[in-house]
Symmetry: C2
Subunit: 190 residues, 2 copies
Amino acid sequence: MQALKDRIIKEGKNLGGGILKVDSFINHQVDPALMDACGREFARRFNKIGATRILTAEISGIAPAIMTARHMNLPVVYARKTKPITMPDQVYLTVAPSHTKGRLVELIISPEYLAHGERVLIIDDFLASGATILGLVRLSQAAGATVVGIGTLIEKSFEGGREALDHLKLPVESLVCITSMDNGEIVFSK
Amino acid sequence: MQALKDRIIKEGKNLGGGILKVDSFINHQVDPALMDACGREFARRFNKIGATRILTAEISGIAPAIMTARHMNLPVVYARKTKPITMPDQVYLTVAPSHTKGRLVELIISPEYLAHGERVLIIDDFLASGATILGLVRLSQAAGATVVGIGTLIEKSFEGGREALDHLKLPVESLVCITSMDNGEIVFSK
């Protein structure tokens, strides 16, 4: 998606170690018009998969997921990383290693909002190692729901996430794909 | 705002201790159409204050803030509660007591995205004690920005937030106001 790629070229920063800083339009400051356009594009790409619910992980998945949900007219659920007091005692919980946090994080969903038979579209900001997305897949499976598609704003293909998701045999769509961040560069494949 | 009030009547749960559970449409599962309507309503109410930026706090402020930002065509910044590795060493940081977490939480903004002279509209999900919003006001003041308005989805007037914000002499808009949650009830004033 050219608008997202252009914005990464203009404002994205390669901080080294595979870390792409996009804090000026996705991860701290958010450009709502760009997120809306990304949501529209996900809706277009996933309009035939019969999704009944969108699933993401707090925090940075919320903006693209809610915009996608708006265009697809679906509810969105974001997995919590700490259990709020409003959540029942019995929850779906898994752990996933966080690349940017350098530790394991919990992903928690209330059974109230992810039911048996749901068809889940997972939306997140990054596809890096795929660990967070695989965590969301495990939560969906625990609930008896079926994941029917995976969409991410930015894929870092050199971190192997697509291969990690390969066994799921699902449509995996990234709006922009970065193949290398070596030597301070940001190299795109699309 | 009637649509939000109707939804609270239908799905909101009084958990006692002043805790209103709205996890089915705001705080865990999100209804994007309802959030979009709330964003449109905030945009209507604040269309004359000359805001240049919307400020909220992660996590549950993000959905209403991004929808408001979309309707006002403004960037939105969400204060982080933990400092990500992409953030510079020098930040604006304050602490605020969290009612639902029962402890102090940090609110952190990068100086990159909140500059001197900005006119800030603060949007959040709840106006309870006002502590989080006062934290966002302090961060804005530290940055040399001016807060020009405050909007929240749900005010719990019995927790005193409006009085705590009174000295700011700012427009404070809540879309729904709850005056009492005693005896398991949810009593609305509007």
